[in-house]
Amino acid sequence: MNSEPAKCEHCTKDQKQKFDEIANIIDLYKGKEGSLIQILHLAQEIYGYLPLELQKIIAHSLNIPLSEVSGVISFYSFFSTVPRGEHTIRVCLGTACYVRGGKKLVERLQELLKIQIGQTTENGKFTFEIARCIGACGLAPAMMIDDTVYKQVNVNKLESILSKY
């Protein structure tokens, strides 16, 4: 097993480069109705999270109030204003997943990762969150790591899933 910590793509680019990248994205979407959420998605992908300073840049460039940008960010649980781990684990706790044992997954993951919901592991690898239905009710209990959906997860599978990252 490779002992060297996986390098986060985000950390290799310097901040300025990321800001420029985000500025380009804003230019691309500017003037299009309802593009704020799209921009926030991409900005979070590039920067990792959405700190106040980045929100200011977005608000200023789109000529909308900062309070509106922050309002949207704080409304959607997908957006984060604090630094996140390299990978985000989202355990679904929608009704179906909850009934089929989603809660047990949460408990086991808290043990494995040694963190609570909403926190990031010490090595910065995982951020652990819960989701309210990811639309995979037929595959309950489900969880996501980044964009990958894991279906019918049981607590014994968790360790092997995590080891892939």
Partner: protein
């Protein structure tokens, strides 16, 4: 017209009206909470629900339009029960400390409870935990907020400031600046319009009553008060009088009754402003015509909400502002210099209180520019609402007071000063004097009213051609002076956009921060009367028309203050006392702050407006000081409160001691 049935009664109502409007025109009142006529139609509180035949659920009548053949029932058992449940749910996450709330008996939530016949609260659940956020001007207490979002609408759609918005979701929702930042660290203009529309005690002016009482009780201080023009046509509303009623004489009597040693009129300084600002305008016009360097259009600087707005939103255009201080700070400066010398009192021992229709003035007086020789021009600002509350507290029977006049030499004013409180008024007052000064003739308008700029439209414009001027103003011959007037920060934003693009055709612009001008300032009485702005406007114009002298330069005390003290408009002395400069703040206070990402933002801005040179750096001491001073004011108020509590307790202890001593004595 559309035919509908409300409560069994067939009615014909206007197409496009909502159920609530249709009901109202037919004298059926539907209870509501978040709705605010002409301002806020949002449907968030659901109190106004009604039964519509055929609809699956109850409909919010404030946002549902009438349709042909609609059958509506507004007060069925189902509807009344639903309203009660909704109301009780609102209460389940409310502090319910009505007896010690500033809005006691003026609270719309309280009133609604009475209307709905609420006698119990069945729901006890989790309660949101919030801490009050206190700036110098406005205090937010989100524990009392009912999330109606009226403040969000005025802040965003009417004022265009965009400081408040809903943050977070569901039970955790708060109405707050971005990232729950405190008000004093964002670009809030302190216009206070949010405090006027708030139905409960969640948004209000930061209290100054306590410190004014302390000053009045301090024998070593001479406490002098001044009153802004707009207060005199609104104060009466707090005592049951019709909006627009002129209560100038009673107000002066009440202020004497409260114990102020002199009652001066901010109007006097309004006349003075016209002399100073008029001279400044003529200087700028002369320079522009002769090709010298100057900045036009010149923009008025009386409204501190507007000043803070431009400092945040258009920091590159501060040179367009007139350098005149606002009238009440001018008067404060004169009280502590000219008048102090006259009565031979140390300026340090004078305490100046301004009664203003405004919450932004509370911030204005703590600015470091608003002091001379280390003495603040004004020590405390009371809003119209706060003055009313002090009058109530002092047991003064306002309605029965005999009229009294202002004190001189700083209490006399002309009609031109009265209209300073209404949109278009400062411009009209300036034109009355400037036109006459330049041409030697009276302003050619009926009754001296510049009709195109009278009224409540957002942006108003006028043109005045100057012909046959007196010799000194030859250079203005044939010049058409173009002016614009706006009230409300959204309109101001529009005019600033023009200036930014270099397309502004105007020479002189009047901006008042609140829609309609000071008559509907953030410190004015809250009113349910949709005609309130018009009524107060008429009140001020009437005040003007009733005066013999209606042009600022005719005020004999203005003439004598220049003769005795200030020399001439724009003199060294008047610059020292009556003029000021402004502070670049930026949208995010970035000119006052200096961290890396703010620099990044500034770079971005520079890239986008590459034609402009880089701005000089300003250290962040200023922002820190302002936040600090806000904290000090809050602490001082708390200190004063605790002190008076302690005194009360000591008194009680003494009374008990006496009682016990008496009892023991008897026993023996």
């Amino acid at each position: 017209m559309i035919n509908i049935t409300i409560n069994g009664k067939p009615l014909s109502v206007a197409k496009g009206s909502t159920i609530m409007e249709a009901a109202k025109t037919n004298h059926i009142s539907i209870p509501n909470l978040c709705h605010l006529e002409d301002v806020h139609q949002f449907g968030s509180c659901r109190i106004c629900v009604v039964e519509v035949k055929g609809a699956k659920t109850l409909q919010a009548s404030c946002i549902t339009e009438v349709r042909e053949g609609m059958v509506i029932n507004t007060h069925t058992d189902k509807v009344r029960k639903a309203r009660k449940v909704l109301y009780e749910l609102l209460l389940s996450d409310h502090t319910k400390d009505c007896l010690s709330c500033k809005r006691n008996r003026s609270c719309e939530l309280q009133e609604l409870g009475r209307t709905l016949g609420i006698e119990e609260t069945r729901f006890e659940g989790s309660r949101s935990k919030f801490y009050p956020d206190s700036s110098v001007s406005i205090t937010r207490d989100m524990a009392k907020c009912i999330l109606c979002r009226r403040c969000v609408t005025v802040c965003n759609d009417i004022q265009g400031a965009g400081v408040l918005n809903a943050q977070h979701r569901g039970f955790n929702t708060t109405i707050s600046p971005a990232m729950d930042l405190p008000l004093n660290s964002v670009d809030c203009t302190y216009c206070g319009q949010c405090t006027v529309v708030c139905p409960v005690g969640a948004l209000k002016e930061t209290d100054s009553i306590q410190k004014v009482w302390s000053a009045l009780n301090d024998e070593s201080r001479r406490v002098i008060v001044q009153v802004a023009p707009a207060v005199r046509v609104a104060l009466g509303e707090e005592f049951g009088l019709e909006p627009g009623t002129q209560v100038t004489g009673k107000m002066v009597a009440a202020l004497r009754g409260l114990g102020f040693s002199e009652v001066f009129d901010t109007n006097f300084a309004a006349d003075l402003t016209i002399m100073e600002e008029g001279t400044e305008l003529l200087n700028r016009l002369e320079k522009a015509i002769k090709g010298d360097k100057t900045t036009l259009p010149m923009i008025t600087s009386c409204s501190p909400g507007w000043i803070k707005y431009i400092e945040h939103a258009y920091p590159r255009f501060l040179d367009n502002l007139s350098t005149c201080k606002s009238p009440h700070t001018m008067l404060g400066a004169l009280i502590k210099s000219y008048y102090a010398e006259k009565i031979n009192v140390n300026p340090h021992d004078i305490y100046v209180v301004s009664v203003m229709p405004c919450t932004a003035k509370k911030f204005e007086i703590v600015r470091e520019e608003m002091q001379n020789n280390g003495v603040p021009n004004v020590d405390a600002v009371l809003t119209t609402r706060e003055l009313a509350s002090m009058i109530h507290e002092a047991g003064i029977d306002f309605a029965r007071l005999e009229d009294e006049p202002f004190d001189n030499p700083l209490g006399m004013s002309t009609g031109a000063a009265d209209i300073f409180g209404v949109t278009g008024g400062v411009m009209e007052a300036a034109l009355r004097t400037v036109y006459e000064l330049v041409t030697g003739r009276e302003l050619p308008f009926d009754g001296l009213h510049v009709t195109p700029i009278v009224g409540l439209d957002t942006v108003k414009t006028a043109e005045i051609k100057i012909e046959n001027p007196v010799e000194a103003y030859d250079y203005l011959d044939g010049v058409t002076v173009k002016v614009a007037v706006t009230s409300g920060l959204k309109g101001a934003g529009e005019l600033m956009e023009q200036i930014e693009k270099g397309e502004s055709p105007y020479h002189f612009i009047e901006v008042m921060g609140c829609p309609g001008g000071c008559i509907t300032g953030g410190g004015q009485p809250r009113s349910q009367d949709p005609e309130v702005r018009l009524k107060r406007l008429r009140g001020l114009y009437k005040e003007d028309e009733e005066k013999v002298l209606r042009k600022s330069h005719e005020n004999p005390f203005i003439t004598s203050i220049y003769d005795e003290y200030l020399e001439y408009p724009g003199s060294y002395k008047s610059h020292e006392l009556l003029h000021t400069h402004y502070v670049k703040r930026g949208e995010f206070n970035e000119y006052l702050n200096s961290d890396i990402l703010d620099n990044a933002l500034r770079d971005l801005e520079k890239r986008r407006a590459s034609d402009k040179p880089a701005e000089p750096e300003v250290s962040d001491h200023r922002l820190r000081e302002e936040i600090e001073s806000a904290r000090i004011i809050a602490l001082e108020a708390e200190n004063a409160r605790l002190k008076s509590e302690l005194e009360d307790t000591l008194e009680t202890v003494n009374i008990f001691k006496q009682v016990i001593a008496g009892g023991t004595h008897k026993h023996n």
